[in-house]
């Protein structure tokens, strides 16, 4: 059925944009300090909870009821909470391990991930179960008739895709064409020489965590708005997808993260629809594709082959 196919493509693009947004955080941090920050999924999750907390406990009813008041406030709240958590994580968990063997910060990131989940589970009222997330955008669905059926597109899904792509584009511009963006790339290529160019690597690294968290926090709010409820596992699930997307796209590469995210979103929704076993096996197909791509292109879609150091 054409309408089913198109519906699944729409679902895939929405999920894919979200995964891409989270994958940017993985890929940037890896690019700078060669750390897979497994706690990045939780940064996304706390962004959603932060926005939810503000909506529930701080906003007066008349603002809650108007999405155009609530949306910007929720996005800011989600971004602030995520950035705060990520900056604290870098400062207190990873920076002391800057010169430790690479395994130490990696294991630490797993610990931070579990700690953040548990903190939310224990201290956020009602977080032991899924919590409904408020409407953050024009409620409702746009339906397109296609021959034999309809393709439903939620307005909040359109918002998610547009915001994700705009943010990814802005990030790419920032990294390619600004003083701090160049400093980030310089630091990722040769930290000692970057320091000799007057760049403070600690500031660059904090900025990298903060930018990744900004995108993840906004992603968390948009996720809540689209899927209408959140639970403490969303960080882990989407974090695994996003990490996979970053590897698929070529870790350390910004375009790669977005393309990888979209690819994984599409694979998940299309495989869930058309492959044997249905959506119960959609994870399997994601990793099958990952393995196949890495066999033939270990550096991912956009990754560089072994760098030649002059």
């Amino acid at each position: 059925m054409l309408s089913t196919l198109l519906s699944q493509i729409v679902n895939g693009l929405v999920l894919g944009s979200l995964i891409g947004l989270i994958a940017l955080g993985y890929t940037m941090v890896y690019g700078i300090i060669q750390l897979i920050n497994f706690a990045h999924g939780e940064v996304f999750m706390v962004g959603a909870y932060g926005a939810l907390a503000m909506f529930t406990y701080l906003l007066p009813t008349f603002i809650q009821q108007q999405w155009y008041f609530a949306l910007p406030l929720l996005l800011i709240a989600g971004a602030v909470v995520s950035v705060g958590v990520a900056v604290a994580m870098e400062r207190f968990a990873y920076r002391p391990l800057r010169n430790a063997p690479k395994l130490a910060p990696l294991i630490t990131s797993l610990g931070v991930s579990i700690a953040l989940q548990e903190v939310i589970r224990v201290f956020y009222p009602g977080a032991t179960a899924a919590i409904p997330f408020p409407n953050i955008f024009i409620p409702g669905t746009w339906t397109i008739s296609v021959g034999d059926g309809v393709v439903p597109i939620k307005y909040s899904g359109i918002l998610l895709v547009v915001v994700a792509l705009v943010l990814a584009y802005a990030l790419n511009m920032f990294v390619e064409r600004s003083r701090m963006g160049r400093a980030m790339r310089a630091t990722s290529q040769d930290r000692d020489v970057a320091r000799l160019m007057g760049i403070n690597p600690d500031r660059v690294i904090v900025l990298t965590f903060a930018l990744g968290a900004l995108l993840a926090g906004i992603g968390g709010v948009l996720y809540g708005g689209f899927y209408t409820n959140i639970n403490i596992d969303i960080g882990f699930q989407n974090g695994i997808f996003a990490f996979t997307a970053a590897v698929l796209g070529g870790i350390g590469n910004i375009r790669g993260a977005v393309v990888g995210g979209l690819a994984i979103g599409l694979i998940k929704s299309l495989a869930g629809q058309y492959m044997p076993g249905g959506s119960a096996y959609d994870y399997v197909w994601i990793f099958v594709v990952l393995i196949v791509v890495l066999v033939f292109r270990p550096q991912g879609f956009f990754g560089e082959t072994e760098r030649v150091r002059a």
Partner: protein, 303 residues
């Protein structure tokens, strides 16, 4: 040759902060300016190895000093002390009378730039971007303006781009602006490294074997480039194995042997000094070759 007047040409627009124009200039000949960089009794101990022992010298404004010596003599170690990469075990380095900061980033800000024996460009950035990174300390961009591409952001980017263009032209690499640094020919990589160092608006430029691996023609071009840099009012210290190059380039030559300053003087004085001939120039050619390889290994490990 009154290079200080040529400097604004390289600046592009005049309203960037520029270290070299901020230095009080002393009237007079190029090599008779006041002391800008002073090393006093610099000693560097690595465990049981004394890499530098009580090294003192002064660098005047507009002067070119050559630093020669057999491999393992401590030349690169001295550069690392002068740029804040190493903290000397004892002794001090001062810039314009102020103690040198122990942070390489702040050393650059104060106006000392360097190149490396084993070229260390940012390989996956273009030639122009490498030079733009050199502008880092002299640029100001607020985070908000960078994200929104505000007018102050665009002005600062345009200034850096213009300055980069001029620096690439200055070292003769304009045609490679968009090329990835790692794809440039070897000699051009060395010149790009010099352009990147110049982008930080240094008052002192330290060149670690700028002609290593170059043919005669490239070496001559590098000599002219260093003269042109001196004519901009920048003081230069050059490490080089090619003694002919050093003796025809420098105002003053320091000979470092086993971490100690053996001889210091004009090229003619140094060339004729029997201790130098014995310690350095007298080494049979194959031994010199072996030493060069040893130096390259040392360079790889110098962090």
């Amino acid at each position: 040759m009154s290079g200080r007047h040529a400097r604004p040409d390289m600046n592009g627009t005049g309203n960037e902060s520029d270290v070299t124009t901020a230095i009080p200039m002393v009237a007079g000949g190029s090599a008779s300016g006041s002391t800008i960089l002073q090393a006093s009794g610099v000693t560097m101990q690595f465990g049981g190895l004394r890499a530098l022992n009580d090294v003192s010298f002064g660098l005047s404004e507009g002067e070119i000093i050559g630093l020669i010596g057999p491999n393992g003599a401590g030349k690169t170690t001295l550069f690392n002390c002068l740029t804040g990469l190493y903290a000397p075990t004892s002794g001090a380095v001062s810039l314009r009378g102020n103690p040198m900061p122990q942070d390489p980033a702040r050393v650059t800000e104060q106006g000392v730039a360097r190149t490396f024996q084993n070229i260390r460009l940012f390989p996956s950035m273009t030639a122009a971007e490498n030079v733009m990174v050199g502008r880092h300390v002299r640029m100001k961009q607020s985070p908000l303006s960078s994200l929104l591409h505000g007018p102050s952001f665009r002005r600062s980017e345009a200034e850096a781009a213009e300055r980069t263009e001029k620096l690439l032209a200055f070292v003769g690499l304009s045609q490679f602006a968009g090329e990835l640094a790692r794809n440039l020919p070897y000699g051009d990589q060395r010149r790009l490294e010099i352009a990147r160092a110049l982008a930080t608006d240094p008052a002192v430029l330290l060149l670690d074997e700028p002609t290593a691996g170059m043919n005669a023609q490239e070496t001559e071009a590098t000599r002219q480039l260093i003269f042109a840099i001196r004519d901009l009012g920048i003081s230069v210290v050059v490490i080089e194995h090619d003694t002919k190059f050093i003796f025809t380039l420098c105002d003053r030559v320091l000979v470092l042997v086993q971490g100690e300053l053996l001889v210091e003087g004009s090229p003619d004085e140094v060339r004729g000094d029997p201790r130098v001939v014995e310690a350095y120039l007298g080494a049979p050619p194959d031994e010199v070759d072996a030493q060069i390889h040893a130096a390259e290994d040392e360079g790889e490990n110098h962090r």
